[in-house]
């Protein structure tokens, strides 16, 4: 048996690792990933404090996108295809799904924000105080969550 920790020949062991990773891509993984995706989407909607709730609508659309885009390698339909063709189709799929998301959700949200005079990135250079620092929240050093 090959010692999984052998670092003498990284190329060799990396190849092994990649092979095993490829084999591990199964339907089970696809299902888990999708579930995780939906859970994260729900979580993001829930954590209103970090303003992510605004994107609730967008994330509502993420589920189906993830189903189609995220596990695309796992779907048997792709396996028989030429690599280039699969890549092209993937690109078409991404553009076809994400463009409406962008145009129908993000753009109107952005326009709405601008109409209300919001400047979340502080892009406008007028009326600035003597100091441009933003105070830090204690949570910056005390939160250990991914958000």
């Amino acid at each position: 048996m090959i010692d999984p920790f052998a670092i003498w020949d990284p190329l060799h062991s990396r190849h092994e690792l990649q092979q095993r990773l490829a084999q591990a891509k199964s339907r089970r993984k696809v299902a888990t990933q999708t579930l995780v995706a939906l859970a994260v989407a729900a979580l993001l909607v829930a954590v209103g404090q970090v303003q992510l709730a605004r994107f609730g609508v967008a994330f509502g659309l993420l589920g189906p996108i993830l189903l189609l885009v995220s596990p695309w390698r796992g779907l048997p339909i792709w396996h028989g295809m030429q690599h280039n063709l699969a890549q092209l189709l993937q690109k078409v799929l991404v553009v076809a799904l994400l463009t409406p998301l962008f145009v129908l959700v993000l753009w109107p949200l952005g326009l709405w924000a601008r109409l209300r005079g919001e400047d979340p990135l502080r892009l406008k250079p007028f009326a600035r105080p003597a100091s441009l620092f933003v105070p830090c929240e204690p949570s910056d050093t005390q939160s250990w969550r991914p958000y």
Binding site: P4, F5, I7, W8, D9, P10, S13, R14, L17, R20, L21, A24, T32, Q33, V36, A37, V40, L44, V50, Q51, L52, F55, A58, L62, I65, L66, V69, S70, V94, V95, L98, T99, F102, V103, L106, W107, L109, G110, L111, A113, P120, L121, R122, L123, P125, R128, A130, S131, L132, F133, V134, P135, C136, D140, T141, S143, W144, R145, P146, Y147
Partner: protein, 611 residues
């Protein structure tokens, strides 16, 4: 208690293992996969770290720390898209699939990587903020009990600059600047304007700066960046394209700087040198004001630095000489690779509340020699299996033997001991040569590094001798401080040099050690102490005995665009592909003339994308 720190998915991924506060191992993934700046999940680095810590399949890690908060970063990207829509569709289409397929699932992917190694999942994966990881990497390993902390980089989640303090094992942030107002991104945009690659070309821009004049400083301060007295600043985004666009620099920038951006590998004009000098001065101005503000508001006498901008050793040198702080400590892996180390330490000290042990003098980085090491037996097995001829040198004779080769104008590549963590080679994966030779610089550039460089090489000098050769009064063990060559060793200018071609200009001797002296008499020096690297120290000491010169040229052991070598095999391949004369592989010496004919693919250099 074993904590694994990880940084990945942006650039230069890395892993680090901290065992009860002690840094056991740290390495960048690029060294194993041989892909420069590899951002992939660092599977090989993780494997190395676990092995170094003695973990075996079936063992359990106590915690995994990821160096930033992916969901908060995702939030910033969506907010940015919202703020700039309908612009930014291209960026959105490029970014979203990667986020949806990979970046959001970091916890699951880490779990999978550990699964593959048979390591049991830790109870929790923790996510310190990006700049907390930087701050932790700067403060916790430093020798200071308390210090001010400044982190400056491109961008983390939202923060681009943070100011804080470290006290014992507590880190507190007071103020920050947020995206898109970023000194790192300004510097990167200017690097791109000058034809250098973002995330690796910034070092070249810094190296180009001394050739130029600060002609654009006023224009930059008027139009590009609004710097306040306390060092806080805002960028004028009309001139940049990175918020929502595909490029860093926008078209208006070309108008301001009097011409189009330089094409990659195109000729370097005077204008580019002036731009480089100007942005360097602007960066120094901002950093000095930030430091002054920190000194005044915190009252601390020591300063710790990290974040990609802290790799700007010219600015660091000025900061030190400004006298604002009594002492500086800069994390050697100040970029995002060091975030892996910071994240693990943040969990140990910050989350678990474990105290630090500091002595006020020595840091906890072990000379940054935290990577893999190959024993003499392993190297011998490798050499024998390939039938490569070698001679074994006894440890006691090794310094003298190698020093004699250097004195005989041979170029020697060193692959010994543990690999360095961070972007600089510090003697264990280095190419070394005689700095006194006037031809050495161009010879090494063309035949070994395969580059036409305007940057001189760096010197490694015995720590005790540093003050005799350079205008510096303290150690610079990680090549992060630039200082002038001592005035008595400088050579006067020979007429007007401003008309020279850059390649001629760089080869004009500036001192008695020309190969390491920049056009402005500066050198980005490394001081070598017996404590951190006794073998390398002994080599330089032996070289001094032979020549009276206590320093050698030290350049990283790689060719342009290639990651620094890691294994004996990487070292041998690089040795045979270049004009390095001798390879010192642990205790073994390999002479180029004695090696069997090296058959390489014609196009081997295409393996490495030029940086």
């Amino acid at each position: 208690m074993k904590i694994l720190g990880i940084s990945c998915d942006y650039h230069d991924s890395a892993a680090c293992l901290v065992d009860s506060g002690h840094i056991v191992a740290a390495a960048q993934e690029e060294r194993f996969t041989r892909k420069k700046g590899d951002a992939a999940l660092p599977a090989e680095s993780i494997k190395f770290c676990l092995q170094q810590a003695g973990l075996r399949p079936g063992d359990r890690l106590d915690a995994v720390a990821f160096y930033d908060k992916p969901l908060l970063k995702f939030h910033r990207i969506l907010q940015t898209q919202r703020a700039v829509a309908p612009r930014g569709l291209g960026q959105f289409l490029a970014a979203m699939p990667v986020w949806l397929r990979r970046k959001l699932w970091i916890e699951a992917r880490l779990g999978q990587a550990l699964d593959q190694l048979g390591i049991l999942q830790p109870d929790q994966v923790l996510f310190p903020e990006h700049h907390l990881s930087h701050a932790a990497s700067a403060f916790y390993p430093s020798p200071f009990e308390q210090a001010a902390i400044l982190t400056v980089d491109g961008v983390g989640e939202w923060a681009t600059t943070t100011l804080g303090t470290g006290n014992g094992h507590h880190i507190e942030f007071a103020q920050q600047l947020t995206y898109p107002h970023s000194l790192g991104l300004l510097y990167s945009a200017m690097s791109q304007y000058c034809g250098f690659r973002v995330n690796s070309g910034e070092y070249k821009l810094m190296g180009l700066a001394p050739y130029g004049e600060p002609r654009y400083v006023q224009a930059m301060l008027e139009h590009l960046i609004d710097v306040r007295d306390d060092g806080s600043f805002a960028l004028n985004l009309d001139y940049f394209d990175y918020v929502g666009g595909e490029q860093m620099a926008g078209p208006k920038l070309a108008e301001l700087l009097g011409g189009p951006p330089r094409a990659a590998e195109g000729p370097i004009e005077r204008r580019h040198m002036h731009v480089a000098r100007s942005v360097q001065e602007v960066a120094e101005l901002v950093l000095l004001r930030l430091a002054k503000h920190l000194r005044a508001t915190t009252g601390m006498r020591q300063l710790c630095l990290a974040g990609g901008v802290a790799l700007n050793c010219v600015a660091n040198g000025k900061l030190l000489r400004s006298g604002l702080f009594d002492d500086l400590w800069i994390q050697p892996a100040a970029g995002d690779a060091g975030g892996a180390l910071g994240a693990a330490l943040a969990v140990w000290h910050g989350h678990l509340g474990q105290p630090r042990q500091v002595d006020g003098v020595h840091d906890a980085m072990a000379g940054a020699l935290l990577g893999p090491e190959f024993s003499a037996e392993e190297i011998q097995t490798y050499l024998d299996s390939r039938s490569y001829p070698y001679t074994r040198i006894a440890d006691a004779d090794w310094p003298q033997t190698v020093a004699q080769l250097l004195a005989d104008q041979q170029v020697v590549a060193l692959c010994q001991g543990r690999m360095e963590f961070g972007p600089r080679a510090l003697g264990n994966r280095s190419i070394v040569a005689d700095p006194r030779s006037p031809q050495m610089q161009s010879q090494m550039n063309l035949k070994i590094k395969f580059r036409e460089s305007f940057r001189p090489f760096a010197p490694s000098v015995l720590q005790e001798r540093a003050a005799e050769w350079f205008a510096i009064d303290r150690p610079s063990p990680y090549m992060l401080l630039v200082a002038d060559v001592a005035s008595e060793r400088q050579l006067p200018l020979q007429g007007d040099e401003s008309t020279l071609e850059l390649t001629q200009w760089v080869n004009r001797p500036r001192s008695t050690v020309p190969a390491i002296t920049h056009v402005d008499y500066s050198a980005r020096m490394q001081t070598v102490s017996e404590r951190d690297n006794p073998r390398y120290y002994a080599l330089i000491q032996a070289f001094e005995r032979l020549t009276g010169c206590p320093l050698v040229i030290n350049t990283s052991f790689n060719v342009r665009g290639e990651p620094i070598v890691c294994t004996p095999d990487d070292a041998y391949r690089c040795f045979m592909r270049t004009s390095i004369d001798v390879l010192a592989l642990g205790p073994f010496l390999l002479q180029k003339q004695q090696q069997p004919h090296w058959q390489d693919r014609e196009n081997w250099r295409e393996e490495f994308r030029l940086d």
